[in-house]
Symmetry: none
Subunit: 416 residues, 2 copies
């Protein structure tokens, strides 16, 4: 079943807010196996809204409209649906009573504009909105289902969950469509082309579950998807292919779906009953900040050292002056002694240290911008990896922090 | 001049990421006075991309395409532009050399797929991408300007600022359109309604320049805009109203346009020839990370202490055990001694310290989730502010870091 999304609102096109509603609705529709090929954003102009809706209805089985259901003159979704379906607007009496009650409870009076919100194109129905004043609209017209939900995110989400999704699920069932289930494996320390090489046969041959690679900001993901009659059946099929992929890329697959690296590392440390300290030069506190984004991180994270100048590397971490003189602050030797110093001073089981050249200045031919050394110290000793990736300063910090967290993860899990 | 935006990528329509690029591009185009009425998102399907581009080109003077310029087979923007303009793809030799060099620096080999990225539809030109592998494309076709920029946000932003916006500005000038000039004053530590009260008369009366308030995530901005024949004329008009607003809100206006708080603070410290150290508990390294996002920050930032547990507050910052016992780690007394300890240990002229309850757990009736204490120590003594703002853990960290940086800014500038 093909679905198209139309977001309405001049504020979106002025770039004043991110359209997180469109993301949410896309994900909801995709999750139950609908095909979302197109999404549009239109300003508050009746002619353009009607034009975009008309084209979407000709292409798709379902059109979900978000926004423009409020009481002000620039809320035009209701009128646009009436025009595009050529149906008159009619008041729904029960809805008017409900709206009057909503206002009375808040000691406010209903205006004529508000009552406009109780109108629906002939043959359509209103969708209840318990958390706001704007009811939704559902109209079936010439083989296409038009659904309109309000723009405020809590109202949109409530209505999607309680009205739109159950309705669409039953539509899919009626048509005998089997729902789609997906899982996304997140990879660290591997590029898209390298991952494609490792999985070449699977990517070529696997059709059910389907396996695809894609690069999301800063990382590569493997998306596996299957249509199945039940969640249990889907989990079995997805689990099997996940196992095979994990065996090939054991060092790289760090989590599934929305679980971040910092959450994965927290789980590894807690399972091992271990603690962590962090010593940062080029990432400037980003690694510690990411670790502490996780609720409960105080159970395994002890403290961090942001040793930006050489003097603090010596004073706080005990890096010998001789190392700084002979090898420089951006060196394997410095990273290793930083990690060892942080472990000793904090008393943590693991300590990770990074030093590098974030740029744009400070590079040399031997140590260019984008060079970093990442060291992890634990009771078994100290390991260190070199890393080269020029980019913007913030990209570099993000990538080095990801590599550093992944090296801790691998060390804790016995993979490095 | 009418502009339309086309975002390309199946991942957007699967709802896997928010399309922040579309927001950014909308804002940039609007800022110079272009009319953005429509935005579309299309999956990686050549037929649909060509269809959407064709319709957009018929309606608009400029079509900005974002994404689909990568090296994989599902990157189809280049082919789509070639089809819709009916022009053959041709390789640009200089670009190939540049790409080979980019890969060599990263110790990777160029593939045939990568070289595809150096092709451009006949008569078009490539836009340089210094931070990634995908150059952009600019083609003028039957009165419409087609511009394609890469999907990764840092690459997109770089290319928009350095290539696309200057080009579009000159287009507007050629057409004799009086360009719109805007300036956005960024405010800290004040809410939208409080700012509206302070500026009530200006917001009511000012028409040229127009003055409007808007809340962007985490802060309030004042947008002033005027149409003017030249940048000099615009700067004069905008500068006058900016002066009046700054006089009213001197403590709150911390910067203009895209200049962040961390850049503003860096300028203040450099102008004062001063240095800074940071001691963080609840922000977990975020303040230090933000400070070090600024190139050249090593000139004023010495080092940071992420003292997440009580023991490290004592060991690294010398917070007395008696303070932790009597007042707790989340207290004015603890914040002040943290700041004083950081200043003494680092030798910095200024030290800022934060301690608080990020949540979701750990709150009490006297010290609820969202409570923070922020202290700044310098040669004149130590000041401390209390802050209460419940929200998600990441919102809290962001807001506390902003408040802490603003308190440093005010202290350095003699405003606190």
């Amino acid at each position: 079943m093909k679905a198209e999304i139309v977001a309405i609102g001049t504020e979106l096109l002025l770039g004043e807010i991110d359209d997180t509603n469109a993301t949410y609705i896309s994900r909801e529709l995709t999750t139950i196996g609908m095909d979302v090929y197109l999404r549009h954003t239109v300003d508050d102009d009746l002619g353009r809204i009607v034009q975009v809706l008309g084209a979407a209805m000709r292409r798709s089985d379902v059109v979900v409209i978000c926004g423009g259901l409020g009481p002000t003159p620039d809320d035009l979704t209701r009128e646009a649906i009436a025009q595009v379906t050529n149906r008159a607007l009619q008041s729904v009496v029960g809805a008017e009573d409900q709206l009057r009650q909503f206002f009375a409870q808040r000691h406010r009076t209903v205006t004529e504009n508000n009552l406009k919100q109780c109108q629906v194109p002939r043959g359509g129905r209103l969708l209840d909105n318990p958390v706001g004043t704007a009811p939704g609209i559902l109209v079936e017209h010439e083989g296409c289902t038009l659904v309109a939900v309000p723009g405020p995110p809590p109202e949109m989400r409530e209505m999607m969950s309680n009205h739109v999704m159950p309705f669409l699920r039953s539509k899919l069932e009626e048509r005998g469509d089997v729902p789609l289930f997906t899982r996304s494996l997140r990879l660290a320390d591997i590029g898209e082309s390298e991952a494609a090489n490792e999985l070449a046969d699977i990517l070529d041959q696997a059709t059910d579950p389907a396996v695809a690679l894609y690069a999301s900001p800063g990382e590569v993901r493997i998306r596996i998807a299957t249509k199945a009659a039940s969640e249990a059946e889907a989990n079995k099929k997805l689990g099997q292919i996940e196992q095979i992929i994990r065996q090939r890329l054991v060092e790289h697959v760090y989590s599934v779906d929305e679980e971040t690296m910092e959450v994965a590392i927290g789980q590894a440390l807690r399972a091992a009953g271990a603690t962590l300290a962090v010593a940062e030069s080029c990432t400037g506190g980003l690694i510690a900040s990411r670790i502490t984004d996780v609720p409960g991180s105080s159970r395994y994270f002890l403290n961090g050292y942001v040793t930006y100048n050489n003097e603090s590397k010596q004073r706080l971490l005990g890096v010998p002056a001789a190392i700084l003189e002979q090898h420089g602050a951006v060196s394997k030797e410095c990273a290793q002694t930083m990690a060892e110093g942080a472990r000793k001073d904090s008393g943590a089981g693991y300590a990770v240290a990074v030093t590098g050249i974030a740029g744009p200045d400070g590079g040399t031919p031997e140590k260019p911008v984008g060079r970093a050394y990442i060291a992890v110290a634990d009771e078994r000793g100290t390991i260190c990896e070199q890393f080269d990736w020029p980019g913007t300063r913030t990209q570099f910090k993000q990538r080095v922090s990801q590599m550093a967290l992944n090296l801790v993860r691998k060390r804790v899990l016995g993979l490095a």
